[in-house]
């Protein structure tokens, strides 16, 4: 096969060799345990500290456990894993790097804010598709308290959050990919552009990220030359109520026929009504744990066959916010399919 055939359009990769998600590992915290999908987590913790002495160390443990679960379920030893691609939101992605130190696997650290999960999956599929590896792991994680501390105020500080703000997930999701095997296949990926619509409110991430998601979805459909109805489910990472509504309306405005039921958001799947999450969930661990846990389980149960995951990320830091910069956003789309071959 030629190189040109792999690239469809400007920024969509087609994975003809169909890398397989052999197994996944998802770990959640206490808040997730009381959410809507606790049975889809492999491991849930009652203690937000995970018996560590800092939130950052707790997040490191989240990743380690998710990796271990994925390897356990995939029947793979750590020596067989050739690469680990991952990232998170904390200072210079140290939790992921420290977890990689524990495993001593060749490691690529990624930062795409909350889009890290799909950034990692797209790159992993690419590497495997080109024969760069036969077995690797990719994942993303976030920890509510560590993220609050990093991006907003101390966790115990009394700051009122507006209804547009979102709740960072305490959780990690890791996928183990192989070139051959049973399981859902990664068929294509569209890499996002950084899109900045000039929004500045750090408590309204959904509204800021929606245009990035819309852009990536549109380009993906166009470059693959398919109709939205090709997918049973188009699921965004963590847009929340506002972001989902905005992007749905925006897609309709751009003439893309997409139904309400077909267009879902991970940030609205993880928690129950009544949990104080305001506009929904967010964080790198949100899309990672929901996709690798809940959604792949549903896929394996035959509920649907083709899904497009569009993980969105807001590429801001507390520094840029304080320097009055706007919020640039990105979204990466990866299609995951099971069973019946694509046309």
């Amino acid at each position: 096969m030629g190189w040109s055939m792999m690239l469809s359009g400007h920024r969509t990769w087609l994975f003809k060799n169909e890398p397989v998600i052999v197994s996944t590992g998802t770990v959640g915290g206490p808040f997730e345990a009381r959410g809507k999908i606790p049975e889809d987590f492999d491991l849930l913790h009652e203690d937000i500290w995970l018996r560590q002495d800092s939130f950052e160390k707790a997040q490191k443990v989240l990743i380690e456990e998710a990796c271990q679960k994925a390897m356990e379920k995939g029947g793979v030893q750590i020596e067989q894993v050739q690469f680990f691609l991952g990232g998170d939101l904390i200072n210079q992605i140290t939790p992921t790097s420290f977890a990689a130190k524990t495993f001593e696997v060749p490691y690529l650290g990624l930062f795409g804010a909350c889009s890290t999960s799909m950034e990692g999956l797209a790159l992993s599929a690419f590497i495997i598709n080109y024969g760069g590896s036969t077995c690797l792991m990719t994942g993303a994680s976030s920890h509510n308290a560590a993220t609050e501390k990093q991006f907003r105020y101390p966790t115990e500080y009394g700051g009122q959050k507006p209804p547009t703000s979102q709740w960072t997930v305490t959780g990690a999701g890791v996928a183990l990919l192989k070139d051959k095997g049973d399981g859902p296949k990664v068929t294509s990926a569209t890499i996002g552009r950084v899109i900045d619509m000039g929004l500045t409110d750090p408590f309204n991430m959904g509204g800021a990220m929606a245009p990035a998601a819309v852009d990536t979805i549109e380009v993906h459909l166009k470059e693959r030359g398919i109709d939205p109805s090709y997918y049973d489910l188009i699921v965004t990472g963590d847009l929340g109520h506002i972001g989902r509504e905005v992007s749905l309306d925006l897609l309709k405005k751009h003439g893309i026929k997409i139904t309400e039921e077909q267009f879902q958001d991970c940030g609205l799947m993880i928690y129950r009504e009544g949990q104080p999450v305001l506009a929904g969930a967010s964080g790198a661990g949100c899309s990672a744990s929901v996709v690798y846990g809940h959604l792949l389980n549903r896929m394996k149960n035959g509920e649907f066959k083709r899904m497009l995951v569009v993980a969105t990320g807001a590429l801001l830091s507390p520094l840029t916010f304080q320097q009055k910069e706007t919020i640039p956003c990105i979204a990466h789309a990866v299609s995951i399919e099971i069973g019946g071959q694509k046309t």
């Binding site: 937000i48 500290w49 939130f55 509510n144 308290a145 105020y153 101390p154 966790t155 115990e156 700051g159 009122q160 507006p162 409110d201």
Partner: protein, 116 residues
Amino acid sequence: MIFFWAFVIGGLICVIGQIMFDVFKLTPAHTLSTLVVIGALLDGFNLYEPLIAFAGAGATIPITSFGNSLVHGAMQEAEQHGLVGVITGMFEVTSSGISAAIIFGLIGAFLFKPKG
């Protein structure tokens, strides 16, 4: 009676803060800093003391009274020692609030862990 007015005036000052949060979209730090400056200005025009006389804790508990006390301490010393007093007397009245915050902050750090 003083309890009623403490409730009303204290509540109203908080409403001003809430409007600054929600309508002007200020961060808590911006809002509180502005309120402190407002308190200091009010005392500059001798308007804050009557409010305290009227509403008691309704005026002394909100952060505006911090600005008021700073000016008050500075003015007291200034009356005795001239301009130098402005600096030496600054924390005369407010020292208890700041030292209490530091001491209890440290004790809190010994006793508690954040709950997340």
